[in-house]
């Protein structure tokens, strides 16, 4: 089997609620006593209102229409509110509201981790925390069958809601983009609006509710405290960069012929490297290596490690348990021997189509053309709009390069995201929408900022734009006319900025 974890089709809920069951004896000095009336815990669960303005990838000079969403959050130590990233990404107005209280307090995002779907908020008025205590988190993992209560503000009402269930399953799986993490499954009712709300066992928080499985029954998911603690520690140490991961292609060692072909002793167990992340001779992993151990944990033939009852998880989980050195200590079976290696880890896959994680797409308008950096979100929008077959038909890099890594550091794909702005300079040219820029005046374009640089520093009489798409026209414009045309376009279309801040910085620079 291919070992790379699948992304399940789960629905992100705006908030989750669980109901506490019979108490467990887990007293700790500062914890909210388990037999406390629910409003003491409820006092620390807030409702969150946000106005989301997602990027408009096809018109990157503007944003999509504002959407009002609501969900949940919890008070944590240090006068902070913890909630989901998907609640606050691209939100401009965020407000929190205490339980049984009408006043809303404005909040801002202090740190966000889109991969693991967590976010930390600060309040404009911190006096709120004087009367709303933080919830304590349980340092140990919940166990299967533990009774769990979830608090939150789901759809179907406006006040605090509590639902009850048990811990059903614990796995290490894919979250968003290239991030993986521990995920706890519970069977309490989880609905839209529950996102960001706490799940408690014995009066202590064991996780934060964030999604449920579509077309299933009673399968809801919480982000366990272990992941929360990792994220909070990282945010406190500086800008959040993501979790270290390995990106090698692995395959299971279940097939007997594969074992024989690799000449493995029957006592050797582990997962096979079918394609290392890099073919560089300096990279320590080779094709056909069998990873038998990570840290102290032996790896089985499906690539799992056994970390206790009910905790058999993918080997990559060990990465976050070990000291963060940027490498993972592995043992591999190679050519009949067991070899120790230190595998370099990365926080992100260097895809040529980056994922937007709270920023708006870079763009630059030049005469009748709007250029933008092609991102993973643009690809998603292209597919959703049904334009993919047309792009495949003309061998667009937006289709053919989806699995590529950056060919060089800083490589980006620049495309024209919208049809021409009406202008006589474009008369006679066909629609350049979604065409990918290959060169300008013969200079191959490396990324959007480079395109802006080339346009700025050119002294040629004409600007000649060549596209990578098959049979696309070359566009030729008289350079002297472009400034006036750009002004007219911005005025006519009510566009405030000719480009995103990074593009404008390059356009206004004076260096050669």
């Amino acid at each position: 089997m291919v070992a790379a974890p699948f992304r399940s089709t789960i629905t992100l809920v705006a908030a989750c609620a669980l109901v506490l069951g019979p108490r467990e004896a887990r007293a700790q000095a500062d914890a909210v006593p388990p037999d406390a009336p629910s409003d003491i815990i409820g006092n620390s669960v807030v409702k969150i209102f946000a106005t989301v303005r997602n990027p408009d990838v096809f018109k990157p000079w503007t944003k999509q229409a504002p959407q009002e969403i609501s969900g949940s959050g919890m008070v944590i130590e240090g006068n902070r509110i913890l909630t989901n990233a998907h609640m606050v990404l691209y939100s401009s107005e965020i407000q929190i509201q205490g339980n049984q209280s009408g006043d809303r307090i404005s909040a801002t995002v202090e740190g966000v981790a889109p991969g693991i779907d967590l976010a930390v908020l600060k309040l404009d008025d911190e006096s709120f925390f004087a009367t709303h205590a933080p919830l304590k988190r349980d340092a140990t993992m919940p166990q299967i069958k533990d009774s769990v209560l979830v608090y939150g503000y789901p759809a179907g009402g406006t006040s605090l809601s509590i639902t009850k269930g048990i811990v059903s399953r614990i796995e290490y799986t894919a979250y968003n983009y290239y991030t993986s993490g521990l995920r706890v499954q519970i069977d309490a009712a989880i609905n839209h609006g529950n996102s960001g709300g706490p799940a408690l066992v014995g009066g202590k928080v064991v996780g934060l509710a964030f999604s449920f499985l579509n077309n299933a029954q009673n399968i809801g998911y919480i982000i366990p405290t272990e992941e929360i603690d990792l994220m909070l520690k990282a945010v406190a140490a500086g800008p959040y960069r993501g979790k270290l991961s390995m990106f090698d292609s692995l395959q299971t060692l279940e097939n007997p012929a594969l074992r024989k072909f690799l000449k493995l002793d029957p006592s050797v167990h582990g997962i096979v490297v079918s394609r290392p992340d890099s073919s560089d001779p300096a990279y320590p992993l080779r094709r056909w290596d069998v990873i038998t151990q990570i840290g102290d944990a032996p790896v089985d033939d499906q690539g799992m490690i056994n970390l206790g009852p009910d905790l058999r998880v993918g080997l990559a989980y060990m990465i976050q348990k070990l000291k963060a050195t940027g490498t993972a200590p592995l043992k591999v079976a190679r050519d009949g021997k067991i070899v120790p290696i230190d595998l370099p880890l990365k926080t992100d896959y260097p895809t040529v189509f980056p994922v937007l994680k709270g920023e708006y797409p870079s763009y630059f308008i030049f005469g009748p053309l709007a250029f933008s950096t092609a991102t993973a979100q643009l690809l998603g929008a292209v597919d959703a709009s049904g334009k993919a077959p047309m792009l495949s038909g003309r061998s667009s890099p937006l289709m053919t390069r989806r699995s590529d890594k950056q060919a060089f550091d800083g490589e980006g794909i620049v495309c024209v995201t919208a049809p021409f702005f009406p202008d006589k300079l474009s008369k006679g040219y066909g629609d350049p929408e979604l065409k990918v820029v290959k060169s300008v005046n013969g200079i191959e374009i490396r990324n959007l900022i480079h395109l802006v640089h080339v346009l700025r520093t050119s002294t040629d009489k004409y600007v000649i734009i060549e596209f990578a798409d098959r049979h696309a026209e070359r566009l030729v414009f008289p350079r002297a006319d472009m400034a006036a045309a750009t002004d007219a376009v911005l005025t006519d279309n009510g566009i405030r900025n000719q480009g995103s801040p990074d593009a404008l910085a390059e356009w206004r620079a004076t260096t050669p």
């Binding site: 097939n255 594969l258 077959p389 003309r394 053919t400 390069r401 474009s426 008369k427 070359r474």
Partner: protein
Amino acid sequence: MSSVPPRLLLAALLAPALALAAAGAADTGAAAPPADTADASSPAMDAISNSVVKIYSTVTRPDVSKPWASLPPQDEVESGVVIEGHRILTNAHDVLYSKQVLVKAGEGDDKLSATVVAFSPGLDLAILKLDDDTFFQTHPPVRLWGELPHTREMVSIIGYPADATNLSAVKITVTHIDFAPYGGGASGLRIRLNSEVAAGVSGGAIVSGDHLIGVACRHGSGNNAFSFGIPTEEILPFINSPAAGLYPRKHGSYVETQHLENAGLRAFLGLDPSVHGVVVPSTADLPVTHGATQLDKWDVITEAANEKVDDQGQVPLPGNGRVGFRYLYQSPGLTTSIPVSLLRAGKPVNVDLVLEPSRPTLIPEPDGTSPSYFILGPVVFSAASSHLMALLAGSPELEAALCYRGSPLATRRTDHPAFPGEELVFIASPFFPHNLAIGYSNPVLETVKAVNGIAIKNLAHLVQVLHDSKDEFVVIEFAERESETLVFPRKAMIAATDDILNDNGVRSQGSTDMMAIWNK
């Protein structure tokens, strides 16, 4: 006294004699017959009606995901016209892959057995012969008129609608003529009509006066139906060709051109306002002979085959406005080259632009065949074909998945072969259940990169490699990101094949061409 008008009588008597002359008359471009009003009950219509037939075919198209079998039989109905030489002309799309083709003329007649003797998927035309020739004694060929109809001309579409056994004639207006892809891999002149042709009438006659000026062609169904007429100008070379089977594709040039309307572009090229034509922005696709291509970047083509080319790349089509200049590639008498006049850096240059036969594509264009395949153990190998592309076109999620994994089926879709005979070999269906495949994920739609370390060039090469191998294992490597490498014990894989074919009711381990290699 008989009330039969003398004109009709005359027409009936002369029909057989005229029929023989019909092809000749069209070839020499004789003067147009007087344009009768296309009235369903006119004598002209009666003459034609005897030459239009209803065709029933039962087709079993290839099943890409079960290449040892076909898709379930589908009944198709269309129309056809009798042409000289005791033949029937119709569209290819409903008779290709047919197991049985039956022809019927008029109510009350029996259906007669027919076979496809020549076809062009590119032009969407096919020629049938009947088992019993006597039919043609009472059903004369249509007279073909070789000239194009005119814009706004009223013509009749005569054929058998899908649910009818009697002939229908519908008046329709020609909106314009264009030159465009037919959808089967070739471009040609099209008679554009102001409404769709009814289902079943595809393959039927387009008549002006009492002459055939084209064959109706309807693609798609329901709201997605798209109809046009294939004019006699496109039909004549096909029906006059002596070749049987697959009709060769048109020759042409791969020159890339761009419109010359934009003021900035014209200024850049330094063109006087009186200069008209199209510009060559790149010579990358042109053949290189003696170290150079015939054209230079930024050449302006002003004339082709002595016709002036305008800024949108069009040339006059007598009586019918303008069409793309590439129409001129098929001018009679042009076989190996087409004379073009250029403006190169301001100076006039004349070039005989080479017309190449159609270049092969890595994923072959439709040719009436079924994809080849070969089964070994639980694995089904096949060669990528236009049928596979049609399947992918219907599934955007599959398309996106292929792109994300870097599959050559996505990244190399529009390529020409990198070397002669190159094919993409892929796994056409999930594993046949067998414990040889334990622990492996299903590699459906993954492309085979190498077997036992040997890079695979095409399906025949794969079979040869498997045939010649003496290794203990068969190691199959795929091109896609995140694909597994499959390892099977070679002897066990071969030995298991018979049982697998038995269990799954598969008649043949591979297509005939592949078994010829395997069994050597």
